[in-house]
């Protein structure tokens, strides 16, 4: 399971970190690819370039920038907090190793083998893998993770629809069965093999973060005596968790800081640090902490980057996270009875021409430069470029072009009235309300700027209540399909499996625009169809979907932003790429070391 590590460190700008909290299905870390089609002027290395020799017995300090305390649930099946998963990353290693495309490969604590015909996944545990209390990792541990997820008593929020693809898991969840029939241990509970039986095989299953199976294990021998309903509050999870990663939790100050020391039973390379201290740092004081060299590794809030960028002794490394912000249009309603989105053909915003014009009138590049110091950059499709295979490089997106916008509206019959504003093709007054919520200081100014651009093409756009909406109210209004909102700007963080099905299919409650277009549904289904096991077919399917989405403009891709960390120059072998420590990759934390006993200040 990949962790949403760096995501905890940065303010995600216009991106709401909805999926970050559920890190099992998400991964905001990614290799920073240097070949970018959007013209970013700033670029950050993904990895530290420190060639000095490491000192032994180094202590590394890690600053976790967040406004609240971390929750302290050190168990992957129960935790929903980005803070917790960031803190846990030193010990809670995922089961499977991945390559830079997030594809699962051999070499981790367990290997995975998919069998398409038999509809199974066979998990083979590395015989050397041991928990930090010295017990071997066994088949029971893998099975127990599913029981924690699916048992209602644990109240885990990580149990999802996708997981129900495992045969018998739904029956276990509802209590019909006390065993999970589709999870078998051919060599017995203390053996090293687990076989998962699926109802349907999906093309995404070869990739980490796909959500169809779980990518962590839970120490059965250690937790079996704790009743499921007491698990969340058990000291075995809160205070003395057991992990199989390179470091283990040594000391804990609840909600504030943790100290990690090497796990002597770690199956991989010997960890190089004597200890890692990870503490919460308030966003208010984070810039001072960077400037005063208080931490070896600390996230940078993009708003504050200009204040700290000249700090000496520090290297700024970064990646482009798996996320994007978007402008979407309300075209329908969620129907609770049917459990799906119902599109209204007559909705005000249900005209692709109008939507395209609105998109072309946004001067995103200028805004990114002026307000976001180029740390934000425009994206051209709804698939982030880190999905190198599936990303459509040739997609144009919606580059700023007022004339084109006006032409589109003229042709579509939106005539300008005497007041300079356009009416609908039927001659009715057209006022469009936009909503968004505050994430950074520049956002309101940026949106007001877009409103001016829209005014230039004759569209009367109003910001809901004249200001940004408080995030809770904003999502409340979106979910309940409030009539106040015609279009909105929000964001998504994505899982490391690229399929956009969870966000845009007609049955997805997170399809907040409420589009339900049969053509799109078919294109989406194609991406996850049986044919898509052929990768070139899947690549084509992704391409077609991206093209269609840009043509119909139900959802307009806007920006992504660099996720930056300030790392002291004494740190060696740390990086935020997919295969680096900051990407929570197997064994990567064991390699991280320091090359001096005190933090560098010059």
């Amino acid at each position: 399971m990949k962790k949403a590590t760096v995501a905890g460190l940065v303010t995600l700008g216009s991106v709401l970190a909805v999926t970050l909290t559920a890190c099992g299905n998400s991964n905001s870390n990614s290799a920073s690819s240097s070949s970018s089609t959007s013209a970013t002027k700033i670029s950050f290395p993904a990895k530290m370039n420190n060639t000095k020799s490491s000192v032994s017995g180094g202590n590394l300090t890690y600053g976790l920038v967040m406004a609240t305390s971390f929750k302290g649930i050190f168990n992957e099946e129960l935790s929903t907090d980005t803070g917790d998963s960031t803190i846990m990353q030193f010990g809670a290693e995922p089961l499977f190793k991945t390559d830079k495309n997030y594809k699962i490969i051999d070499g981790g604590a367990a290997n995975l083998k998919l069998d398409q015909k038999a509809k199974t996944a066979t998990i083979t545990i590395n015989p050397k893998a041991k928990w930090s209390d010295g017990q071997p990792v066994v088949a029971d541990d893998v099975v127990y993770a599913y029981k924690i997820l699916a048992n209602k008593e644990t109240q885990s929020q990580r149990y999802t629809d996708s997981l129900q693809n495992i045969v018998g898991l739904a029956d276990y969840h509802t209590g019909k069965s006390d065993q999970i029939s589709g999870i078998q241990t051919p060599d017995g509970g203390t053996g090293k093999t687990v076989v998962l039986h699926f109802q349907v095989m999906k093309p995404g299953m070869a990739y980490s973060g796909n959500g169809y199976y779980w990518e962590a294990a839970a120490p059965y021998h250690y937790l079996k005596d704790v009743p499921f309903k007491d698990l969340q509050s058990s000291p075995k999870i809160r205070k003395n968790p057991v992990f199989f990663g390179p470091y283990k939790l040594n000391k804990l100050v609840s909600g504030q800081s943790t100290e990690w020391v090497p796990n002597e039973y770690y199956y991989g390379a010997k960890p190089k640090l004597k200890s890692i201290t990870a503490s919460v740092v308030s966003p208010n004081t984070a810039p001072s902490a960077i400037k005063s060299h208080s931490y070896d590794i600390i996230g940078v809030n993009n708003d504050q980057y200009p204040n700290v960028k000249n700090t000496k002794g520090v290297t700024f490394i970064g990646n482009k996270p798996l996320s994007y912000s978007y402008l979407a249009f309300k075209v329908g309603k969620w129907d609770d009875k049917k459990g799906e989105n119902v599109e209204d053909k007559n909705a005000k915003m249900n005209d692709p021409k109008l939507r395209q014009a609105i998109a072309y009138a946004m001067n995103i590049d200028q805004v990114d430069q002026k307000f976001y110091h180029d740390l934000n950059f425009r994206v051209n499709t709804l698939i982030p470029e880190n999905f190198t295979k599936y990303y459509d490089k040739s997609a144009k997106g919606f580059p700023y072009n007022l004339k084109k916008a006006e032409d589109i509206l003229d042709k579509a019959g939106y005539k300008k009235g005497k007041d300079g504003y356009r009416t609908t093709p039927k001659g009715k007054k057209l006022t469009i309300t936009i909503a968004s919520y505050a994430t950074n200081s520049a956002k309101e100014a940026a949106i007001k700027n877009y409103i001016q651009q829209w005014k230039k093409i004759g569209l009367d756009v109003q910001l809901l209540n004249g200001r940004l909406t408080e995030p809770n109210s904003f999502y409340d209004k979106l979910q309940s399909d409030s009539k106040d909102i015609d279009m909105y700007i929000a964001g998504w963080s994505l899982s490391s499996e690229a399929s956009p099905n969870d966000l845009y299919n007609p049955k997805a409650p997170f399809n907040y625009g409420r589009m339900n277009n049969p053509e799109q549904t078919k294109l989406l289904a194609d991406i996850d169809s049986q044919k898509a096991f052929n990768d070139s077919y899947r690549i084509q399917a992704f391409k077609k979907w991206q093209e269609w989405m840009n043509k119909e403009a139900y959802v307009v891709p806007m920006t992504n932003q660099w996720s930056v960390s300030a790392v002291n120059n004494r740190v060696k072998d740390y990086g935020v790429g997919v295969t680096d420590a900051g990407g929570a990759n197997i064994g990567a934390w064991a390699d991280v070391s320091v090359t001096s006993n005190s933090l560098q200040t010059k």
């Binding site: 709401l16 909805v18 999926t19 909290t21 559920a22 299905n25 609240t68 305390s69 929750k71 649930i73 129960l78 929903t80 209602k152 109240q155 929020q157 149990y159 999802t160 629809d161 959500g211 969340q232 509050s233 809160r238 000391k251 804990l252 100050v253 609840s254 909600g255 504030q256 800081s257 943790t258 100290e259 201290t277 503490s279 919460v280 740092v281 308030s282 208010n284 004081t285 001072s288 902490a289 400037k291 005063s292 208080s294 969620w334 609770d336 459990g339 408080e470 995030p471 809770n472 109210s473 999502y475 209004k477 998504w492 899982s495 969870d502 966000l503 049955k507 997805a508 409650p509 997170f510």
Partner: protein, 319 residues
């Protein structure tokens, strides 16, 4: 007097009930719920509905309210939605931190404000008085968080004298080590809170002393030839301390209140910070428990203040 105290305590019960009802309804009226933004796109609509159902959020609010009251009467304030921990455990964990900080800063507040108040009153119009007045003016007119930020920047980040966050270092071990580490963490916020909260006390004391000097009984004492030291300590000072004593009950119960500003800026995990975080996360159970507790403490503080007044000032009777 005991009868009166009992009556006052009994009267608190309906007051607390009304408060809790009020708080509960207001909390429910806030947009969003504890799961807003937590559920991810891989969760299906039915799954979301089920999570809300299991948390009891779909019940009508009176049902939710009485369930909450029923549990609260058994000392069970429920589980925190965001920490998945019993609210009582959470509050007691934070209350200890806040108590350390508050006791430290309250003692310091009195240590600073009483001598300064006496000086200012006794030497009214002098250079000392003017300096103290100026300090009062600054401490009350510049918002406290400005000083907090300035202090944390200088003492924490520039000079590295004091820690900049937390209540205790993770490296501290042993009882003495932990206690010293705790003390080390509260010095900076504690001193600043104390410096920022002296104005009221100084002002009460100063004007009390100035007013009392003109009272008849002071003139009588002086004309009887009572030594000036005795006149000041016995007649003027004791009477001037009364307004400060009038708030003392609230000060005692307020020790648990926590300071939202100071705790947020110093990332000090106390009650104030817990409160703010719970409101932002829509953690209904923690939020309502805290407000009801604050309400109870305020009522108790008022009662305590009255009792204290009746002890220190024999002219006042409770009945």
């Amino acid at each position: 007097m005991w009868k009166t105290i009992l009556r006052r305590v009994l009267l608190m019960i309906p007051q607390i009930i009304i408060l809790s009802l009020f708080v509960f309804i207001l909390a429910k009226m806030m947009p969003g719920d504890p799961f807003t933004g937590l559920i991810n796109p891989q969760t299906s609509a039915s799954q979301i509905a089920q999570i809300r159902q299991e948390a009891g959020l779909n019940d009508p609010w009176p049902v939710q309210y009485f369930r909450w009251v029923g549990n609260a009467l058994h000392g069970n304030f429920g589980l925190s939605y965001q920490f998945h921990k019993p609210v009582i455990d959470l509050i007691s964990e934070r209350a200890v931190n806040t108590l350390y900080l508050a006791v430290f800063s309250v003692i310091l507040t009195y240590l600073i404000s009483i001598p300064l108040g006496i000086w200012a009153g006794r030497y009214q119009g002098s250079l000392i008085d003017n300096s103290i007045q100026f300090y009062n003016f600054v401490s009350i007119s510049v918002p406290s968080f400005v000083w907090y930020l300035l202090a944390i920047a200088l003492f924490g980040f520039v000079w590295h004298i004091f820690p900049t966050s937390g209540s205790v270092s993770v490296q501290a071990s042993g009882f003495i080590g932990v206690t010293l580490s705790r003390l080390y963490h509260i010095i900076l916020p504690g001193v600043l809170i104390a410096l920022m909260s002296t104005a009221g006390n100084i002002q009460y004391l100063r004007s009390g002393i100035i007013d009392n000097q003109l009272e008849d009984y002071v003139r009588t004492a002086r004309s009887k030839g009572v030594p000036e030291r005795v006149v000041f300590n016995k007649h003027i000072l004791r009477n001037s301390l009364l307004p400060i004593a009038a708030f003392f009950g609230n000060v005692i119960t307020g020790l648990l209140g926590g300071s939202v500003f100071a705790e947020t800026i110093f990332s000090y995990p106390g009650m104030g910070k817990l409160f703010i975080d719970s409101v932002q996360a829509r953690d209904y159970s923690v939020m309502t428990a805290l407000i009801v507790m604050y309400g109870f403490l305020t009522l108790l503080g008022n009662l305590l203040s009255d009792i204290i007044m009746s002890i220190v000032d024999p002219r006042i009777r409770i009945d």
